[in-house]
Amino acid sequence: MYRAEWTSVTQMEEHAGSWINLLVNLEPQWLRTYLPLEVVTGWIVLILVVLVAWYSVRRMQRVAVSGWQTVAEWAYGLCVNFCRQMIGPGGERYAPLLGTLFVYILIMNVAGLVPGLTSPTATLNMTVALAITAVVGAAIYGIMQKGWRYLEHFVDGPWPMWPLMALIHLIGELARIMSLSFRLFGNIFAKETVITQVLLLLGSVLAMQQISLVLRAPTVLAGTALLHLPLLLLGLLVSLIQALIFMMLTAAYIQGAVETHSE
């Protein structure tokens, strides 16, 4: 039942079956290299978030009567307060980007804990896309706020050194993209790898035919309670923290881009 050359839970599921295989098998074979399960999960998370947001503000009233609207107002209030504290008095303009980043990344991270699914943020494609969005968004906000004076960030010191300083600053921006993406990817991929390996370990214990089932089953149950459950809880904590970190760092980059040194 368990083969030693398997390296992922997906292979185990393809052989032994899982609820997600019913849906995955709907996809034609030629499409599976271009649209793997991670990308489709990302789309599903996106549609879910948009639906919840749309439902919350449908028939919006000044004094909220529906529960959804109250929750949405509270969440938006948290976001706006955070943006005002991080970025200054004009922070409301950046609240949509930061709030969306937080909610989207959080739900994508947690999607890996659902049995059968895998986190889209455990792929470098998704995290690099999010990091480029954040850093380029900060630059665009800087240009929108300050015009071409934004480029004064890039230069520092006497004017013959300006090309060198601009190059160093540009490499610093690329390093920001790399660090944002690798931080998120590393945390979520490591969380998922650890949970996968523990599951494969428990599965291999369950598949040992030499030992009677009466001994195997309680061992696997105890192993699930002692190994799998704490790792799932740790994964939940890491997902939340990494989503928060991504949002806070993007807010810090936006603050650096749009700050006008007050007199």
Partner: protein, 86 residues
């Protein structure tokens, strides 16, 4: 002492050594944040926010080391096979 053995041994040391230095640095940052909060409790919100950001930036370096390990780890058995000895 073949190349594969040294490779595997040093690869296993990557994350622990990084974690030692990162834990030291994060401890120092934590101490400074705690002293700042003790000195000015009304700045606890600002100090807490900056603390979280700094801790994340240091932790990212450990994650880079972990990623290096995870990328190189599946290459150990092929390396052993190619060199023909352990």
């Amino acid at each position: 002492m073949s190349f594969a053995a040294v490779f595997a041994a040093v690869l296993g040391l990557a994350v622990p050594i990084t974690a030692v230095f990162a834990a030291t640095a994060q401890g120092k940052v934590g101490v400074a944040a705690m002293e700042g909060i003790a000195r000015q409790p009304e700045a606890a919100g600002d100090i807490g926010r900056n603390l979280i950001i700094t801790l994340a930036l240091i932790e990212a370096l450990v994650i880079y080391a972990l990623l290096t390990f995870l990328v190189l780890f599946p290459n150990i058995p092929p390396l052993i096979e190619k060199l023909g000895q352990l």
